[in-house]
Amino acid sequence: MGAARPPAGGIRVNATGESGAADQPVVRLTGVGKTFGAMDAPVVALADINLEIGRGEFVSLIGPSGCGKSTLLRLIGDLTDATDGSVEVNGKPARRARLDRDYGMVFQSPVLFDWRTVEDNVRLPLELFGHDRASQDRRASEMLELVGLTEFAKRHPYELSGGMQQRVAIARALAFSPSLLLMDEPFGALDEMTRERMNSEVLSIWERTGITVVFVTHSIPEAVFLSSRVAVMSARPGRVTRIVEVDLPRPRGLETRESPRYFNLIIEVREALRAGDRAGAASEATLASPERTAAEGGIG
């Protein structure tokens, strides 16, 4: 479970009556492996991943490009199938959890629909889930308030900056009160200043809502600043080589980024990445990056 955190207050995001006991892990990966490609030329993207993520945790997946961190996230979301092992979300197979709409997803690009206003983009999952109009309205305005975009409700996505668009995507992911939030390098395309501001906002949302977050990133400072635990991955085949517990006090803010402990943890993660890289280099194959394969061979 995560380090000490303030009690969730204000806006409720998690649905009541969730399946499973409170101490049951939200995500449980057991011996998970993923192999891409044809039988005669397989590419092992992930091998023997074992990871449990408890309720209310903020776990980052970090690793070099091609280590399969995005693939791992997509496995949790049942956007692709595991070839080995089992992926459980809220004690159910990942597919069941997806069909039960247990998680919200935020991609690197905001994936907003230009023909819908900001408000209507946030409303989209609620429309699909058959919520009535009044509760859609209420929920959309709550979520826009949560991400601080109330005054942009009637605007169109292309009128917003990249950071604001990503906030809309977060509001949309949270709109239907999922118990899990999956974020795939959500701030990778933003400039450094915006990224730091977005990090603080995500933390504040996490603290207020009590949602469980799995966060893919390739930024070490971002992973350390946000997470309760950082899962360090290595490439070829992708595996979790180390888990770094982040014991920085919460709430975290500017002073966190300037504390010695923060820098020590950054060094720790960096060394864990290097160690994994050395181990991986030994078995380095000449095969193409599996992560690229995943992106290009995705659903069409």
Partner: protein, 293 residues
């Protein structure tokens, strides 16, 4: 960062003005050519202008004066008839428009339906798209008599020809439009466990609309061509196609009749095209202005 969305009223006004300027320019060039190289101009039997050059194309038979054409539209269609040529042509235009509108609508619906089918069933797409493409390599002129032979010389065969010209651009553009959403958008819908129907209505159809309108702008005019081709060689007793056929036979005697028919036909095409543009502006309001054909 902000993108201009609302098309200001001034822009529409500017478009109308530039269109009128274009019309005036055409008339000026037309008459200037006549003054330079046409037949001598007589007023009350007296020659008031003798052009310095003589070009066969600019003679009164080949290129009548614009005012002569205009005056002819106000005169009776045939000597002794009650109806003026203009009134007659407008009546025929309405008849042709009904046919082409029907073909446009059926072709559009057929194109959308085919594209929707193809996008959901790869196998059907692989099996049928080559034939859809091949169907367009047969010239309509060659096909028209055949269709007439099968369905008879009536409105339905004209509508079939107009439909035939319309469904193809819509099918191809819609197929592209329905495939245009970002793969991430489809993954997002998958994460919501959205049904295929929901993906179609919430993502694919809205994303395809700019593509659809590009195709409809083409088929708006193609449907008129189809209707006229159907009416002319099809031996219809009504419609602009019939008027164009008939008046081209009388060209040596009164070229103004054919010219007036051509202008009315062109006007119908422009009207139809503008109606589609208007619908596009309304349907796609609030979207970024990028790259809409």
């Amino acid at each position: 960062m902000t993108v201009q969305t609302a098309r200001p009223r001034r822009t529409i006004l500017r478009r109308i003005v530039s269109f009128l300027v274009f019309i005036v320019a055409v008339l000026v060039v037309w008459e200037a050519f006549k003054l330079l190289a046409g037949d001598p101009i007589f007023v009350d039997g007296e020659k008031i202008w003798d052009p310095p050059l003589t070009v066969w194309l600019a003679t009164d038979v080949n290129l009548p004066h614009t005012w002569v054409i205009w005056n002819r539209t106000l005169a009776p269609v045939t000597s002794g008839a009650k109806e003026s040529l203009g009134g007659y042509l407008i009546g025929q235009a309405v008849f042709t428009m009904r046919e082409s509108l029907t073909g446009f609508a059926i072709g559009g619906v057929l194109g959308i339906a085919l594209a929707t089918l193809f996008v959901h069933f790869r196998l059907i797409e692989r099996a049928f798209v080559p034939y859809v493409v091949a169907s367009q390599t047969i010239p309509i002129i060659a096909l028209a008599p055949l269709i007439m032979f099968f369905t008879g010389h009536n409105v339905s065969s004209v509508i079939i020809i107009a439909t035939y010209l319309c469904f193809f651009p819509v099918t191809i553009a819609m197929l592209r439009g329905l495939r245009s959403p970002d793969p991430r958008a489809l993954e997002l819908m998958r994460s919501y466990a959205a049904s295929r129907r929901a993906v179609l209505w919430k993502v694919r159809f809205p994303a395809s609309l700019p593509y659809l309108f590009t195709a409809l702008k083409i088929t708006a005019t193609a449907s008129i061509v189809g209707a006229i081709v159907g009416e002319g060689p099809g031996g219809m007793q009504e419609g602009l196609g019939r008027a164009l056929m008939f008046f081209s036979q009388q060209y040596a005697i009164s070229p103004e009749k054919l010219w007036a028919s051509i202008f009315v036909t062109a006007g119908l095409g422009i009207l139809f095209y503008l109606a589609v543009v208007g619908a596009e502006q309304w349907v796609l309001r609030g979207r970024p202005q990028a790259a809409f054909g």
